[in-house]
């Protein structure tokens, strides 16, 4: 499956794009997404440790199973307020 992943703030700038596309096996987890991004997007790799993943506007754990219907985003450390 081909996932679109939204990028924000320092990740958007590091990646040079507002979205990236990542191909994963159907039924892949957030952990698999992290591994794929680290391999295919070296500019994002150093940020991933502190980055959370959101699916359909909610934070999800590494065990969460992804699908192409979900809106997926990388959430680097937030600094609102």
């Amino acid at each position: 499956m081909l996932l679109e992943v939204r990028l924000f703030a320092m990740l958007r700038e590091a990646g040079g794009a507002e979205r990236i596309q990542v191909r994963l096996e159907p039924g892949a987890s957030v952990a698999a997404l992290r591994t794929a991004i680290a391999r295919e997007f070296p500019a994002l790799a150093t940020h991933l440790g502190a980055t959370r993943v959101a699916a359909n506007l909610q934070f999800v754990s590494d065990a969460h199973i992804l699908s192409a219907e979900q809106e997926i985003a990388l959430i680097p450390p937030v600094s609102g307020g």
Partner: protein, 139 residues
Amino acid sequence: MIAVTADPIDLAAVEALLHHPEAGGIVTFAGTVRNHNHGRQVVSLSYEAYAEMAQARMEALAREMHARWPLYRVVLIHRVGTLAIGDAAVFVGVSSAHRDVAFDACRHGIEVIKFDVPIWKKETFIGGEDWVEGCAVHG
């Protein structure tokens, strides 16, 4: 009122929203843009949000606050875009019959916004600009 917005926060209007005939106490927190941070002279700040998720997370936060404390009104507002020194970037306001409840709930509201709502702050200071180091861990 729960909002992620580019518009300035109208303090008089939000105070009016917080009033309720059964409420005895209104506590508000406004986070304003400081002219310095980590020893650097700040010229302006700009906030970027994952707007749909920030709005959803703040609406969920308001529901959580209502469930946890006896509150009459909850107002949560975060601005996006470029702000000047002194501008209010974030506003949390609650009304309750009891002031202890209002203080606790308001403080919880700003803590969750700072740790858990996808908004990012970029500082423009004399000599450059940079994303502000944020909170990675769930608060």
